[in-house]
């Protein structure tokens, strides 16, 4: 653990300034839509930076020369046909997938270097999965409290009050003592978001968070994500929800065949796409 804590207070490789993560963490307060702070402009250094990133699954070239910078406070939505590499790109950010070449820097850590310990970086990144992956043997509350207590060493009472606050924020405080199997899909996914937020992360990753949900539950999850975006959370979202992309994204990336084919604001993307493949994709889904 000590080695993590040491590397945790480290120097940013770009600007040579000590990294003080605690100051930058978004607050956990429930922010109403109209009182949300203005979106931070792109400033300073990117918090996620892909440089010539390549990845293969065996012979399959799944990521081809990915170059992308994501800045603090940005909401980036990645869309594209299935098998285009969008989930893989997302999963590289917290090294659930390793890359074979290129440089990937996240929160000042060069995680493309296998010698860099990923654990402290992961603590700063919340992740929400398509199939929720809540811990079935733990209650909702315990699901949310586990990482803060074991990773951040927060005392139980404090972890519990954070968890309850987050459950209020995602709209299901009454389910605190329930087990995941007793919740609907939408409720489970909202608990999963609360679990990710409990570490007060700097980045939230969403891997098709609504794809496994029944249609009537999609909205409740998207609403939570929208509220989060308004608070200024840095979010990278892989989704097929074009309405969400249009409304919430600062930037949209379109991927196909392992490459980023087109990037731009939602207006650019949905109104005036340039690339033929983007147009074809949008014709199919819209």
């Amino acid at each position: 653990m000590t080695s993590h804590q040491q590397s945790y207070i480290s120097v940013c490789p770009h600007c040579r300034q000590p990294i003080t993560p605690s100051d930058e963490r978004p607050s956990l307060e429930v922010v109403q839509a109209d009182s949300a702070p203005a979106k931070p402009q792109r400033n300073g250094e990117p918090i996620i930076s892909f440089r010539q990133v390549n990845k293969w699954f065996g012979k399959l070239h799944v990521l081809k020369d990915i170059n992308e910078d994501i800045y603090p406070g940005e909401v980036v939505v990645i869309i594209g046909p299935s098998g285009s590499g969008k989930s893989t790109m997302l999963r590289c950010i917290n090294r659930l997938e390793t890359i074979q070449s290129g440089r990937l820097v996240v929160d000042g850590y060069e995680i493309s270097n296998p010698k860099v310990n990923i654990t402290p970086v992961r603590a700063e990144i919340g992740m929400v999965f398509q199939h929720f992956h809540l811990y079935p043997h733990k209650t909702v509350l315990e699901n949310i409290m586990l990482a803060p207590m074991k990773v951040r060493k927060i005392p139980q009472t404090e972890a519990k009050s954070i968890a309850l606050e987050l459950l209020k924020k995602v709209g299901i405080p009454e389910k605190a003592e329930a087990y995941p199997a007793q919740l609907s899909g939408g409720q489970q996914q909202r608990v999963a978001i609360a679990r990710g937020l409990a570490m007060r992360p700097k980045i939230m990753l969403f891997d098709e968070p609504t794809s496994a949900l029944d249609p009537e539950m999609i909205k409740e999850v998207l609403d939570v994500m929208k509220a989060l975006a308004r608070e200024g959370m840095t979010m990278v979202v892989v989704t097929h929800e074009m309405g969400f992309a249009r409304e919430v994204a600062d930037r949209v990336l379109f991927m196909d065949g392992g490459s980023i084919i087109e990037r731009g604001t939602p207006e650019h993307f949905f109104v005036n796409p340039v690339e033929e493949r983007t147009k074809a994709f949008l014709r199919q889904i819209l």
Partner: protein, 230 residues
């Protein structure tokens, strides 16, 4: 048929029963610990750890228990130069034997946990060992209870084989009583009954434990199809 031969020898047999229980309890505890270690070792991504564990498991699983007992009781003294007592060598043999089977149970238990559980835990900042301890092993254990208890029941019954190397456990004492009294039917029926009662209790307790651990986790199992509610 006389019940008399049993009642007269109960104190003598009871001493043997205590040895049987000790033998089983110590061997079960040790083989659970070593079995978990070997099971995790076999899943290790480092070949230097997984290959020796695999070799050990395969060798033991391809060997009769009685050979392991003989091997440890007769060959270890040759190797180390002095004899070892029957009881510790029986414990060692049962541990070596049962650990291999438990290792396989642990391995399949761990492998039955969806990879998403591990990814969720790791991505929240937990280390590999924390993920194992708080997420994987508790869930695996619930799934492992039925085969694990089956293995413990087997081990409990197999402790009777220790009589061959002279451990004064229940079966050995029963044969001694039989040699003295020539009442095979009564004595061995009684001893069999004792083994059965203990094993049956373990089996019942396991069902209870499994149910208790599954509370909340899997409440939908109640609604699953069974021939009874069809």
């Amino acid at each position: 048929m006389s019940i008399d031969v049993i009642t007269r020898n109960i104190p003598y047999l009871y001493e043997g029963f205590k040895v049987t229980l000790q033998l089983a309890a110590i061997s079960i505890t040790l083989s659970f610990v070593f079995g978990t270690i070997f099971g995790m070792a076999r899943l290790s991504k480092y070949r230097i750890i997984s290959i020796p564990a695999t070799i050990y498991i395969e060798i033991v699983r391809g060997t009769p228990l009685i050979m392991v007992i003989f091997w440890i009781f007769f060959l270890i003294p040759v190797l180390i130069g002095h004899p070892i007592q029957p009881f510790p060598s029986a414990v060692a043999a049962f541990t070596v034997f049962t650990s291999a089977y438990i290792a396989e149970i642990v391995r399949s238990g761990i492998k039955s946990i969806p990879v998403g559980q591990v990814e969720a835990a790791l991505s929240s900042g937990l280390t590999y060992w924390q993920t194992m301890r708080y997420i994987v092993l508790p869930q695996a254990l619930t799934k492992m209870i039925p085969p694990l208890v089956g293995q413990f029941i087997s081990l409990f019954k197999d402790t009777s084989l220790a009589y061959i190397i002279g451990v004064m456990e229940l079966t050995r004492r029963a044969t001694i009583v039989n040699n003295r009294e020539y009442k095979s039917f009564e004595i061995f029926t009684f001893v069999a009954l004792v083994y059965f009662v203990v094993c049956f209790t373990m089996s019942k307790y396991a069902r209870y434990l499994e149910k208790k651990r599954r509370v909340g986790e899997d409440h939908r199992t109640e609604e699953k199809y069974t021939p009874a509610n069809a």
